[in-house]
């Protein structure tokens, strides 16, 4: 079981580094948000927006990198590559677990330098805190990969997939505490969207990193529970749907 999973993970990680142009675009976007936009906004608001945004940028980078696997799987589905994948001497569970693990690791590989940058800007955590932050990021990254893979196989058409990805991106990033505190969102969004923003795993990871690095908002058992529940739901749903969708895609 482990051997098959490792082979899938290795394959997906190798492919990830071939997307150097996509990654360069992502890095430009994340760094421009932090080193230009946040620096200017800091001079226009009453708190240090640069420090506030550094953890948020880590979460958005993680999200975007974890979603890259969806684009790949979508291409594989359209080009009939799923038949080849299903013909490999691997169990379905190994394939699904391998791909989701690789998706999670890709997010971590991409976002760890952003986290280290945030640590330089804010403060260095203790080793256990650093481990917990990486664990939280891994949970989110794996959950997002699951979601991306499911959408990629279920929607098939590239345009439909990119449209769904953009919609998800808009809702998950803008209805979260990545760019602004929840107190601000409470003044502009209706109740249901506030609840969505509160339970959004991107908010959970941004706030957990803020909690460990600047102490605000404080890390509580509730923040971990929210992250575990929602990332867990994404992971389980993603794994189940991918398993069903990849078999249906070849019929």
């Amino acid at each position: 079981m482990i051997h098959g999973v490792i082979a899938v993970v290795e394959h997906d990680l190798r492919v990830f580094f071939k997307y150097r142009f996509t990654l360069a675009g992502l890095i430009s976007m994340n760094l421009a948000d932090l080193l230009i936009m946040a620096v200017v906004y800091t001079r226009m608001v009453s708190f240090n927006y640069f420090q506030f945004l550094a953890p948020g940028v880590t979460a958005t980078g993680l999200f975007a990198a974890a979603f890259v696997i969806g684009r790949e799987v979508n291409m594989e589905t359209r080009r009939g590559y799923n038949e080849y994948l299903l013909s490999l001497p691997l169990r379905r569970s190994e394939l699904v677990l391998g791909r989701m693990t690789a998706g999670g690791l890709r997010g971590i590989i991409y976002a760890t330098p952003l986290l280290i940058l945030a640590m330089f800007i804010l403060k260095f955590p203790t080793p256990p805190q650093f481990g917990l932050m990486l664990f939280a990021m891994y949970l989110l990254s794996t959950g997002i990969s699951g979601l991306a893979i499911t959408l990629a196989v279920a929607l098939r058409g590239f345009e439909r997939f990119t449209t769904a990805r953009s919609l998800l991106y808009l809702f998950l990033i803008f209805c979260s505490t990545v760019f602004y505190p929840l107190t601000v969102l409470r003044t502009i969004l209706p109740g249901s969207l506030i609840l969505f923003a509160q339970l959004n795993p991107l908010s959970a990871v941004s706030d957990l990193i803020r909690g460990y690095l600047i102490g605000v908002p404080p890390v509580t058992a509730q923040s971990w529970t929210e992250l575990l529940v929602f990332s867990g739901a994404f992971i389980i749903a993603g794994a189940g749907l991918y398993r069903v969708a990849i078999e249906r895609s070849v019929h």
Partner: protein, 252 residues
Amino acid sequence: MTKILLVIERDLRSLMQQKSILLMRWFYAIVQIGIFGLAISRIITVMQNYYTYYAMGVIVMTMYSVAIFTGYEIYDEADLGYTEYLLSIPLTRRELVLGRSLAGGIRSLVFMAPIIAGFMFLIGIVDPLRVGMALVALFGFTFGVSGLSITLAVGLKSGDKFDIIMGALDAFIVRLSSALYPQAFMPKPIAILSTFNPLTYAADLFRWSLNFNIHFLANPVTSLIVLVIFLTTFNVAGVAIYERNLEGASWR
């Protein structure tokens, strides 16, 4: 002239075929104005009407990204072997580039027209002269951006390089301009860089046309001159590079 109009008509038709991408950009602009803009304006303490300022910036940014589309289409055409067909039709290269650049500007305007109209209605701008000036400013800018996009696409002849340069340009051009925040609040190095950015002048000229507080904007005469230089430079360069580079199958 008729031939240029034919190119424009064809490019307008091809844009309408990209419905889902266009709808997403529309939706993106609305969410940026409706959520990000509202939220960020609640925490801005140095400007009273930042929300209006921001919304005007998002309109110009979105038009920029629609105008850039022309370059991607050139790659699609090269990919599909369509470039040879374009070269065989009875049009000069100059007519083709000018038609495409003009179409890029018109497409951006047509695409954003409902959002611009809705926004002007909301902020109470109905003076035809001001509306006309705002539209001319936007068209001039997007005409230049299409020229830039064509120049880069044909100059590079590499989809990967074009993609990365456009991605980086998109990230830095927007943030190193007054599209999101006034130059008055930028640290000096960022403010200096933003003065070399045509997006700064397009956004500020658009705001000036719509009667925004001039205290936060670049001088409108300077903006107009910069935009004219920008659109002339990149369309002339586009024509020159297109004429020299389009032939030959060296697309990557």
